[in-house]
Symmetry: C3
Subunit: 208 residues, 3 copies
């Protein structure tokens, strides 16, 4: 039951991120296979780095072909849908990205706790799982990553990680803990997008 | 016999990619050690990520110093050759890159099958081995990677991977399977360069 | 005694690099959590890649929470200090970066030798540990990495690695070997900054 919940959540995250990868790829006028590559990088990049860091190799998608299939099918369907609608809805990229961020954060933190790592490590692993896929997507497309812009982004991921670790220590049922944490990240990130919220910025002029 | 074939093919791929790294590095006016760094990243970056993902650590070049030596010698010879000819032949970078792509794809796919992973994973590992080195080279030099441009690139790698997995299932001898697959990738990629072939592009205008 | 020496040196390297990450992050006007992310990437990025390549997983900072704490505290203190002084001292970024480069090179090379790898591998691991953190910092902030500019940089790291391996073969005490090697890298890199030293550059005009 818990396993299925995590698996389904993870797949929703992968699909959200894969679509966001396709949105960026089509903007860059990539060919079909290039689109699938960018969808895959966005969808499984974060979890791949997490697994390599924790030594949980071979990484998750190597031992479960469903990830490859889901990404490929998502990419193909998205391309046809984009051709059909001509213009994607405004903010779609950011909203999908927010769902990926929220879900991957909790999946990553949960995996770290399940492997016996400490709370701070779980929060870090959640953040890495959540932000790295989109980070590589942005790097590859020649942009400074989302996560490094001033809008609340990594902050939302850390909030979700802290909530999850806290709820786990308080011995909430895992599914409740995950739901609370996903809602936390998602509502903070979506609020930030909607109201253009940002934390105070510490800027300084400095030499190169 | 098979082992030697793979080893020699791999070295040819490493040399091709190392030279391509030097070509980019000299264009960026890097110092000698920087040139060797970029040559190394291009030559062994893809295989390094592949091995880390599959848990085949320590990665291949750590347990076999020949890779480090071959890259260093290749970089030094290439620099002297470039000084001598003043201008490198047109398309040299792209052609070397094509050889690296074709060989690394098959070396990666072969290693994945040999470690007992499935066909789809072998195709993905081949693609990662083939494209990641050049991808990091381009990223480091401040360009959007080759692989994300519209010309057929990752597509050629996937074609090679599919051919290799197919030939392996049909129980061709490994050397025949590898030769067919390398030829497949190489001819598709070289044709794409020569005739400026590209797959249809799915572009869309979208919000940031 | 040796272990403590290495641990303290490593922490000084992490603090130097974390501050350099904060300097870049504040220039990019990032939010507090983004600042910590960039500080962390710069401080532990190189060692993370080193450990993943050598199969020394889970990587070092996952099994020792001190790294996470030190980076977070360093980032917070640096932000307050920057707010207080308004303008950071000239060359601060480059000097901190030089300390990180020198220390991480030797920590990386030492770990590789301790795990039983060969001299050339130790030099490569030292270089990777030394340059990769700053490289990712620069990539993420949309710049061509320091290491690929013409000033002596990777060269200084390789010099340190060679000195350390040499001193180890000559059976110097580890602490003496590390001190010599750190001084070597540091003095070469600081000289390069101060006198704008650079190795001869091998540039060539070439097609794209």
């Amino acid at each position: 039951m818990l396993e299925q919940f995590i698996y389904i959540a993870d797949m929703i995250g992968v699909i959200s991120c894969a679509i966001s990868g396709v949105l960026v790829a089509t903007r860059l006028r990539m060919d079909p296979v290039g689109i699938i590559v960018l969808a895959a990088v966005t969808g499984i990049g974060g979890g791949t780095l997490r697994d390599m860091m924790m030594g949980a190799t071979p990484v998750f998608w190597i031992v479960d072909n469903n990830y490859t299939y889901v990404i490929t099918i998502t990419a193909i369907l998205t391309v046809f849908w984009l051709k059909h609608i001509h213009r994607s809805p405004p903010y779609l990229l950011m909203i999908l990205d927010a769902f990926g961020l929220a879900i991957f954060t909790i999946v990553g933190a949960q995996k770290a706790l399940a492997l016996g790592f400490s709370g701070p490590v779980a929060i870090a692993m959640g953040c890495i799982t959540g932000v790295v896929g989109g980070m590589i997507r942005d790097l590859l497309s020649g942009q400074i990553p989302f996560v490094l812009q001033k809008e609340i982004y990594a902050t939302a991921s850390v909030l979700g990680g802290v909530l999850f670790v806290l709820c786990s220590y308080l011995e909430f049922t895992p599914i409740l803990a995950m739901s609370i944490a996903i809602s936390g990240t998602l509502s903070l990130r979506l609020s930030a997008i909607y109201w253009h919220l940002s934390l105070p910025v510490f800027a300084s002029d400095r030499e190169a």
